[in-house]
């Protein structure tokens, strides 16, 4: 790589790194969330420079969406992270709170190359002693990938359970509330109150 290109890469890389420091990785988002919604949500913390929605190419269908939000400076980004860690913040839907963590290089789609040399790759000969080890590594990697997938499924299942449970309890609470309202509005409560000599205030 000629030196001038190398320098250019270094600059790009440094600039990108700086941008990463200012960016927050937001997940547990609703899949239908849009750029505008995120902006208005995070505007209170500072100036939102850019919102990038992370696309879900290989994951299962039900996982939450994520976004990379670039703020004006690193302090604002840090503030968001600490705020969201202490209070449950909800964007366009409740009650699942959104989570924010500091972004990392690998999270970005358009990350520039790391400067410094080409990637050398070589084919291993079957007689090479490392061949066996390498094959073992390959199968280990595949195994890990499937482990990860199953853990993800497990997590999704747990999420689904919570969701169902909460929906149930919400409905039940709601029914109770409705019942009370109805009783109050159509005078049953008042009547009962007079029977028992209790004052019912609205």
């Amino acid at each position: 790589m000629d030196p001038s290109a190398e320098d250019k890469y270094k600059e790009e890389y440094a600039a990108f790194k700086e941008m990463v420091k200012r960016t927050v990785y937001l997940d547990n988002l609703r899949p239908q969330v849009t750029d505008a919604v995120i902006r208005t949500a995070l505007d209170q913390f500072g100036k939102v420079v850019k919102v990038q929605l992370v696309s879900n190419l290989i994951g299962p269908e039900n996982i939450s969406s994520a976004a990379l939000v670039e703020m004006e400076n690193a302090e604002q980004a840090n503030q968001i992270i600490t705020e969201l860690a202490s209070y449950p913040f909800m964007i366009s839907g409740m009650p699942r709170p959104v989570r924010a963590i500091a972004a990392e290089m690998e999270m970005f789609d358009d990350c520039p190359r790391k400067p410094g040399g080409r990637i050398q790759c070589r084919w291993l000969n079957k007689k090479d002693p490392d061949f066996e080890v390498a094959m073992k590594m390959k199968s280990a990697v595949l195994k890990h990938a499937s482990e990860a997938t199953s853990l993800l499924q497990h997590q999704l299942l747990a999420e689904e359970n919570i969701h169902k449970k909460q929906a149930e309890s919400l409905k039940a609470n709601h029914k109770k509330l409705e019942l009370i309202e109805r009783a109050l509005s159509d005078g049953t409560a008042k009547k009962l109150g007079s029977c028992y000599n209790i004052n019912i205030h609205d």
């Binding site: 997940d27 849009t34 290989i58 449950p88 913040f89 964007i91 366009s92 084919w123 490392d130």
Partner: protein
């Protein structure tokens, strides 16, 4: 003044009305201002129903040009009105009245089309209710009798709805868009029978009132629309079939019928003879079209001096005589555009946007797009393919609304999965970028590919980076895959490259765990309809806070699961790596 045409093919009465001027190289094209068809009088700028074969719905259009060619075929140019169902996507949550339609404006496909005159199914009573000062406000009675009303326009190029009307709406002067004056309305209510004298009288009356700014969307009484409109529609269909097939010259005809058989065959089509003009118009970015309209309407105001009209028509003629192969190419192109338009007009909104987009592209890079469309032609199998293929090309350019997010790579990934040309690579260094992956593949296998590193998430493993690779051919993919599985390609840092077939692309996400919604009735009662759309921090003494805490708990637990898994996996890999002799 009226010419009685002996039309063998049609058993519906027809006679021309007032002439406007001539055109064409040999002055064989005659423009008209009015005609009588099947007992109904039509004038320029009237709103009409256009019937589409096979569809129960009528289209509504405004006659902006009427003429007869040298070969005695009769044509009309129609500027379209859109029904709300056709532009649902761009209406958002704007309120639409029950019988409201939108006039097309702007530039591009969907604004106007040329059709055989016989495609007209009847007159349509469209009243303009715009509060613009230039518009004559309709009376209560007129509103009651109206079939449709309109006061807004739809820009086919920008795909937006506009309230204000400028000097011109889609090339038509705004005074022809607003309601006609009372006196002219009277003129538009003559008897059904094309009585020569009556027509003459009408023509004279019209002539006289021309000094007053002529406004269109005539207020007609319902009696004008002949009864048994529906009965006639069948007859009209037959008529259309025959006339349409008859008008093409033999070589162009074969091309166009081939296109027809590929896509929907409809009766509303672009005539080959005027294709040259249309293409040149679109190539010049519809500027020419506008210019023509400009000259037309200007001409009208000046009581139609012959030379002006003639010059606007000569524009058409040289284009008409364009090279044969050019015309053939463009006929394919334009027929495609029109069939696209027609496909979309009947169906969903997305396809519509692409039809609008395609000729915008055409205008920019005419030749390139022609080639692309021609190449696509053999692969298109019918209606669905047409619109979806275009959809993928154009959606990427005009996707402003994020309710349907698909990037180019995602699209390609989807189609590549079906073709079997995708691979997933594991065990890359997480710091690699897509370009580096492509290079690795190229150097090792001499195969071109398109790669994308899967973006790291909170739960992705830190030990191995993954990438999705799309190859050009299935053979290439297979070759790479077998080589990688049987052999061992070592990347630096003792990482052998691992590959697998990627799982199916996740469809549009429909379920999301965690967001609960109360049923609407109760929400409305409490006035909390908008609760879901705002973002907020939850307060400790609410139910939602408790629920949020449950979610936080789950989050923390799953975080620890992942941490544990990654740690364990890291250990395994480290042990294996340690046994490597060379690194």
């Amino acid at each position: 003044m009226a010419m009685v045409e002996a039309d063998d093919v049609s058993n519906l009465e027809f006679s021309w009305g007032k002439k406007r001027g001539v055109g064409g190289k040999k002055k064989e094209v005659q423009f008209y201002e009015s005609f009588t068809y099947d007992g109904v009088d039509y004038n320029l700028y009237d709103s009409v129903y256009m019937l589409k074969e096979g569809e129960p719905e009528h289209y509504i259009g405004k006659l902006i040009k009427i003429w007869e060619n040298g070969d005695k075929t009769k044509k009309v140019k129609v500027q379209w009105f859109f029904q709300p169902s056709e532009i649902l996507g761009w209406l958002g949550d704007m309120r639409v009245l029950e019988n409201e339609i939108f006039l097309a404006t702007g530039e591009g496909v969907g604004l106007a089309n040329v059709n055989p005159l016989e495609a007209i199914a009847g007159k349509c009573n469209v009243v303009c209710t715009s509060k613009d000062s230039r518009n004559r406000q309709p009376s209560e009675e007129e509103l009651k009798l109206a079939d449709y009303i309109f006061y807004r326009t739809f820009d086919v190029g920008l795909c937006t709805i506009l309230d204000k009307m400028d000097e011109k709406v889609g090339g038509t002067e705004v005074r022809f868009v607003f309601n006609k004056e009372e006196s002219e309305a009277a003129c538009a209510v003559p008897g059904h029978i094309p009585d020569e004298n009556k027509e003459k009288k009408c023509a004279v009356v019209c002539n006289g009132t021309q000094q007053i700014p002529k406004e269109t969307a005539p207020v007609e009484s319902k009696s004008l629309i002949t009864n048994g409109d529906n009965d006639q529609s069948m007859a009209i269909n037959d008529v259309k079939d025959v006339t349409v097939k008859g008008e093409y010259s033999t070589d162009l005809k074969s091309v166009v019928t081939a296109v027809e058989s590929n896509c929907l065959s409809t009766t509303i089509e672009e005539p080959a003879s005027l294709l040259g003009k249309e293409v040149s118009g679109s190539k010049a970015g519809a500027v020419k079209d506008e210019f023509e309209m400009a000259t037309d309407t200007k001409v009208k105001a000046e009581k139609r001096p012959q030379p002006a009209n003639f010059s606007s028509d000569t524009e058409e003629k040289p284009a008409k005589k364009a090279k044969k192969d050019d015309v053939i190419k463009s006929s394919v192109d334009k027929s495609r555009n029109d069939t696209q338009k027609l496909i979309s007009r009947g169906n969903d909104v997305k396809a519509m946007s692409t039809a609008a987009d395609a000729p915008a592209e055409n205008a920019k890079s005419g030749h390139d797009v022609l080639i692309r469309q021609e190449k696509d032609k053999p692969s298109k199998q019918g209606k669905v393919d047409c619109s979806s293929k275009e959809k993928t090309i154009n959606k990427t350019e005009k996707d402003n609304s994020k309710w349907f997010r698909q990037t180019p790579f995602e699209d390609r990934f989807k189609t590549a999965q079906k073709d079997g040309t995708t691979l997933m690579l594991h065990n890359l260094d997480p710091e690699y970028v897509s370009g580096e992956v492509e290079e690795i593949i190229w150097h090792s296998f001499k195969e071109y590919c398109s790669a994308k590193m899967v973006q790291g998430t909170k739960i992705s493993t830190p030990h191995s980076g993954q990438a999705i690779v799309i190859f050009k051919t299935r053979e290439g993919t297979q070759k790479v895959m077998t080589k990688l599985i049987e052999g061992c390609l070592m990347l630096p840092n003792g990482r052998p490259l691992v590959c697998s077939t990627p799982s199916t692309f996740p469809g549009k996400q429909t379920t999301f765990y965690g967001h609960l919604v109360l049923d609407n009735k109760t929400q409305a009662q409490r006035g909390k309809k908008d609760a879901v759309s705002t973002s907020h921090c939850s307060q400790p003494n609410t139910i939602e806070y408790d629920m949020a805490m449950e979610w936080c708990l789950l989050q923390a637990r799953s975080d620890s699961w992942w941490k544990g898994l990654h740690k364990q996996q890291g250990e395994e890999l480290r042990k294996l790596k340690a046994t490597l002799k060379s690194k």
